[in-house]
Symmetry: C2
Subunit: 333 residues, 2 copies
Amino acid sequence: MGAEDRRPATIYDVAERAGVSIATVSRALHGSSLVAAKTRDRVVEVARTLRYNPSQAGRQLAQGRYMAMGIVFPDLAGPYYAEVILGYEDRVAAHGCSVLILATHRRPNAEELAMDLAGRVDGMVIMGRTIADRVVARIADQRPVVLLARPPVGEIESINADNTASAERLTEHLLGHGYQRFAFLGDPRESPDVGGRYAGFRSALAAAGRRVPRPIRCGFSVAAGHEAALALLRKPHRPQALVCANDEVALGVLSAADELGLSVPAEVAVTGWDDILAARPARLTTVRQPMRELGATAASWLHERILGERVGGRHEVLATELVTRASCGEHPG
Amino acid sequence: MGAEDRRPATIYDVAERAGVSIATVSRALHGSSLVAAKTRDRVVEVARTLRYNPSQAGRQLAQGRYMAMGIVFPDLAGPYYAEVILGYEDRVAAHGCSVLILATHRRPNAEELAMDLAGRVDGMVIMGRTIADRVVARIADQRPVVLLARPPVGEIESINADNTASAERLTEHLLGHGYQRFAFLGDPRESPDVGGRYAGFRSALAAAGRRVPRPIRCGFSVAAGHEAALALLRKPHRPQALVCANDEVALGVLSAADELGLSVPAEVAVTGWDDILAARPARLTTVRQPMRELGATAASWLHERILGERVGGRHEVLATELVTRASCGEHPG
DNA sequence: GCGCCGGCTGAAAGCGCTTATGGTAATTCG
DNA sequence: CGAATTACCATAAGCGCTTTCAGCCGGCGC
């Protein structure tokens, strides 16, 4: 231990010990060509023996860059955000920067924390419905910001997965199975992603001349899906195909069907979203999103903006992929 | 947009506009009692209209604290690390600090990145086999460090889940089912956690007078488990009970068994570790770890050390919980 | 009327670093 | 051999903040 008492060496310590100025130390350690090879070696050697690790606070202040990027997301439960963050972290690190994270999970002071974060980074990503538009705009006013899976705010750049189109494809696929009665589980108001999914669900049904049911509003967890499905599947005229807002909800539906003795897909078809790990063993038909790519693209955009490249308000919609497994029914012709 | 050109307001701008010195601004915005209420209100008002957001670099340098803590982990695939990080982030935020993350995933310059991280935080957590002992020691020499799920390094504080004890309990449970031939899937060398699990597996078998099989070394993914299980279960004298290093591997085993037409648990019993979301629909017997608590405890320890409380080299082992589901066999007795 | 004290504020130092700017010795060239 | 480069290094300014210290001013007691 003793980490608490031993004050870490500063650039001054190195300079003194090596018999040079701090400017030379700085240059030597950054491989500047303005320093003689002999001096450089000596400085590097001293730095090593002194275990010198530059204080980033000093650097940040001096060169006006943090060499860090932030990301704000609602939660880390479920693989969705973890994957996005992973893609983000990977790309950010490739650009030589560190990653700051902030999970807002309904914290009352989330916006204050986000502002604080903004004061520590060169740019940041804001995901989902975490921060009020007003605050997002304030942050974007002083730092490059990219919105991920979030409704647009002014001209701020954004990246989304193509929820609507994939929902249409999914719904059309189910229509192809011949199902008549549909249900949508999830709250379109809760997340822009779910909003887009419901929109696609609706438009596909409408295009086929079917009645469009209202969404069954429920949370995003397995438990929420389970509970909602129990109520729904006990009805006399129960739906034949349940389109769930994400895989967690779909897993809850599966366990509810099991509990009620209903076989999937013969008596009820179920689909999810995200293609999480559990989807495969559960044989769940779902939609795969390019989660890592979402994060990676956002990181690159930020990096370009930070470097001052004059790129304008980009808005990208990434394609998704329908993954059909057993839960939606035997594949038709 | 325009985030690139508009230079954010500094404390000087606020001071000038409010007609006070920067010292007063600083005090006013921190609610110091040394400033008159009237002045404070005026300063706060000006700060708002100027959209002043303090640069954290300046603060960090001035008060010698980063108000940030780091965490280094191998990867974010699978829910394990995500959960730990979530517990960590939550507690760190409660202490008013930000969180820096670093995923090393076999990056060649991981240690350099970790050193860099160390220069941006007040303390940090290092998980798993990410960083060489030598580097860990160097970091711990200048910052408080807590090791998580990592073999000890010197006197550096550490927190672990009780892998060995729970592995013993799990193995005893399987012995209670009457199985004769066991296998362990996972590489004890890859992670200290797996090492502990294999150790418990071994000691329980040894205590029962059984032969202890060598571990079947495989990766941590579903695919790795699948592949390893295919080879293993095709053998004429195949094992009856497969103890897997984690749930992902166990899921791979389940799908392999399915592929080979072997029923679980009648023909082969399978167990996992971590109780990830997919474990429930897969009816997987597994071991639940207090993942969030691991992260939260580490955060609190760091916080205490940073505040200078003279606490010594603590080492804690957190208890785990056996979760029995169908995959290990019909429950005996 | 004078000295004191307490409430409030400003001036200034300093945190650790980067980066012009300037200066000196060693080299080159006319 | 003197002047003009060149190669190298030190000095110093400045990044945006916190915090110590000193100072000002009005009100109090004597």
